[in-house]
């Protein structure tokens, strides 16, 4: 067991996979000489050389498309997009090509590309670098969408994604890179099929993923001091989502609060809420509540930025409301 940061866990997976399989390579803006915008690939250019750690021009559509093309001809590319905000320039490549080609070719070709991107607010990078658009990608059939929230998943999910024959999008919350966590020895493999019960409880289910897990877990601890037993679900895989675990937990607690940094309207939390209403309606003892991003472009000043994303106190308040102590 050793303590590593989220960033180091990503780098572990990059190194392990490149040593294990020569078809794996990394490309993206500043991943080589600069070591990556979030320093995930620091030192890898020296270790693996320019052919496998490739700096690209500032053209998301171009280099994501190149990654898809490389995957089509048998490579295992890892494409790093600096943030989800810039990935909009590559949406056409991801949605119209990566997600569709297996279907449109009648199964003749598959696209084993892995696209990593940072997401989320909290680092005062202003609106154009801080949004959470997981919902854009979870909307699309043909994509697998991951949201690691722990160091074990940061490493393990990247390795599992490389083993997946189809395109996988990984969201790494920018606020997590410096987070430290225990990495067991040897580091464990993880699945891409299950949500994880991060904390067991009986009174209310707090459903979250990625960057919101820490605050949600803090909220659960604070609720426990008030005698309320909150169960915390770390969804991990946003598409295809492990609905069974969600419904089983709601069947136990009869109450659900969804915590997601994306905007509430038509967002990721909207779909989770709708599914609970559709398929777990008779289990509910209270309306489903959502703690989500405020509907503004993420502001730059820190107090406004924090006011626009879910806070521990809001999660506690929502949980208290649905358990009837509000």
């Amino acid at each position: 067991m050793s303590e590593v940061t989220f960033r180091e866990a990503v780098r572990m997976a990059l190194r392990e996979s490149m040593h294990a399989d020569e078809r794996v390579f990394l490309m993206g803006e500043d991943v080589g000489r600069y070591g990556g915008s979030y320093a995930c690939s620091m030192g890898l250019l020296e270790e693996f050389g320019e052919a496998r750690i490739r700096d690209t021009p500032l053209s998301e559509s171009g280099f994501v498309g190149a990654g898809i093309g490389a995957a089509l001809v048998g490579m295992k590319p890892i494409v790093e997009v600096m943030t989800v905000n810039f990935s909009l320039l590559a949406l056409d490549q991801i949605i119209n090509n990566a997600a569709t080609l297996r279907h449109m070719s009648g199964g003749q070709v598959n696209v084993p590309v892995v696209i990593r991107m940072s997401t989320g607010a909290g680092k005062q990078l202003a609106a154009q670098h801080s949004h959470s658009w997981e919902a854009f990608y979870t909307h699309v059939p043909g994509l697998k969408v991951l949201s690691p929230a722990t160091v074990v998943d940061a490493r393990g999910m990247l390795l599992a994604a490389l083993d997946d024959p189809d395109p996988v999008v990984i969201f790494e919350h920018s606020g997590l890179y410096n987070m430290k966590g225990e990495m067991p020895e040897p580091p464990p493999a993880v699945d891409l099929t299950h949500a994880r019960v991060a904390r067991e409880g009986t009174d209310v289910t707090l459903i979250t993923h990625g960057g919101c897990l820490r605050r949600t877990t803090e909220a659960a601890a604070a609720l426990a001091e008030r005698g309320i037993s909150a169960e915390v679900l770390d969804l991990r895989v946003l598409r295809p989502l492990d609905w069974n675990t969600v419904f089983e937990s709601v069947a136990k607690t009869h109450r659900a609060v969804i915590v997601d940094e994306g905007w509430k309207s038509w967002g990721f939390s909207a779909e989770v809420s709708a599914r609970i209403a559709e398929d777990a309606f008779w289990m509910l003892d209270a309306p489903v509540r959502r703690v989500a991003g405020v509907e503004v472009p993420i502001p730059y000043p820190t107090h406004l930025e924090q006011a626009s994303i879910p806070q521990t106190a809001q999660v506690i308040a929502a949980a208290l409301e649905v358990v009837g102590h509000g």
Partner: protein, 392 residues
């Protein structure tokens, strides 16, 4: 001022539990509105009001067991020149309630929970699920949720302390059995039955039905039962003496034809709710009404008028594979028609033996009300009607 009284929802009903109010004081009601749900031996029945006006006062709390005839609510009638002063008495040809004790039970003041004061019980989905599973009536459960809503945690507590309010499923079944026993014993005790029966060739009717069903979209397709009921109504038009009630030593014929239609319930027991105006409605309308009635009967959501209005009952044992049934008349009706299973039989047609589809039809008649001659005419009329299905 009009009184809304605990109605008699069956010949042998003496008491009922006012299960749920669907109105509150100040609500305007129109003639025919469903304003309450009453729990009887045969399940929960939705009860209509037969005068128009404004609810002045609810005199009985939900959950109160009251004798038939007890005033449940007072209604301030609105001026309406078209409606006669006592609409309640003349609105339907319902048989009058059995004589009952006139002392109304004093309604026990129940602890008032805001959840039920609003007309509809506020309860979470989980509470409703638990209550249905455990047979707990949500009315009367004190809710601990917002606005007094009943939550899941309130249900086990209510189930534990429910001493009197709602009989559990076993008791309800037993109660239904007792109700059937009472009605049938009264029938056999008081009604001198005579029985007639004959086989009818229904090949043509079924062939016509198959042709018709093949030519219309699925929602307009008919089950044979619709044809049988239309034929019974047509026969009643020719021989009306079988359609009505024996009351006060006299046969009171009914102009409307409301056919009681025996529905066996999944949990056991049976009810025979009425399909109204069978002669007036098209087969497609009747089909829809029948489906609706069976569904509601099995869910225990019949309306009061449907429980009492039948002017003649039809019992069909065909689905059970039985070829012949001689029914027991449901008092105060004066006849019951029995339909057997359709079977293929050697049958003489124009001097030749042919294989035909044949159904046994029977009539049990009340000999006080009419004689075998009348019954024979009726069965002949029924056979005629079945041979010309397109006229139905």
């Amino acid at each position: 001022m009009g009184d809304f009284v605990m109605p008699s929802l069956g010949a042998d009903m003496e008491r009922g539990i006012l299960n749920e109010w669907l109105v509150k004081p100040g609500d305007a009601v129109a003639k025919g509105d469903i304003i309450a749900v009453v729990e009887t031996d045969k399940g929960a029945i939705e009860v209509e009001v037969w005068s128009a006006g404004v609810i002045e006062e609810l005199c009985v709390d939900e959950g109160t067991d009251t004798p038939v005839g007890t005033v449940l609510a007072r209604i301030r009638e609105t001026e309406n020149p078209a409606s006669e002063p006592s609409a309640a008495a003349t609105a339907t040809p319902s048989p009058p309630p059995e004589p009952v004790a006139t002392t109304p039970a004093p309604p026990a003041p129940a602890p008032s929970a805001p959840a039920e004061a609003r007309g509809r019980v506020m309860a979470s989905p989980w509470a409703r699920h638990l209550a249905a599973e455990r047979g707990v009536a949500l009315t009367g459960v004190t809710g601990s949720g917002p606005l007094g809503a009943v939550l899941g945690r309130d249900v086990p507590a209510a189930a534990a302390k429910t001493a009197h309010p709602k009989p559990d499923k076993v008791d309800q079944l037993a109660a239904m059995r007792r109700a059937v026993a009472k009605a049938m014993a009264r029938s056999k005790r008081e009604i001198p039955h005579y029985y007639l029966g004959t086989d009818v060739d229904v090949t043509g009717a079924l062939a016509w039905l198959a042709r018709r069903n093949a030519s219309v979209p699925p929602p307009e397709r008919l089950l044979p039962a619709v044809i049988w009921l239309k034929a019974v109504a047509a026969a009643i038009r020719k021989v009306p003496q079988v359609n009505g009630f024996w009351q006060d030593d006299a046969l009171r014929l009914s102009e409307p034809i409301h056919l009681g239609f025996a529905v066996s319930l999944r949990g056991g027991g049976l009810v025979a709710p009425a399909l109204h105006d069978v002669d007036q409605r098209t087969p497609v309308e009747l089909m829809r009404a029948m489906t609706d009635l069976v569904t509601r009967a099995r869910r225990g959501r019949l309306r009061g008028a449907e429980m009492t209005d039948a002017t003649l009952t039809v019992t069909s044992m065909g689905e059970r594979g039985v070829e012949r049934v001689d029914g027991v008349i449901y008092p105060p009706q004066v006849a019951i028609v029995g339909l057997g299973k359709v079977v293929e039989r050697p049958w003489v047609v124009d001097g030749e033996v042919a294989v035909r589809k044949v159904m046994h039809v029977s009539l049990a008649g009340d000999h006080r009300a009419h004689d075998g001659h009348t019954g024979g005419l009726f069965l002949n009329a029924l056979a005629d009607a079945l041979s010309a299905p397109e006229a139905l």
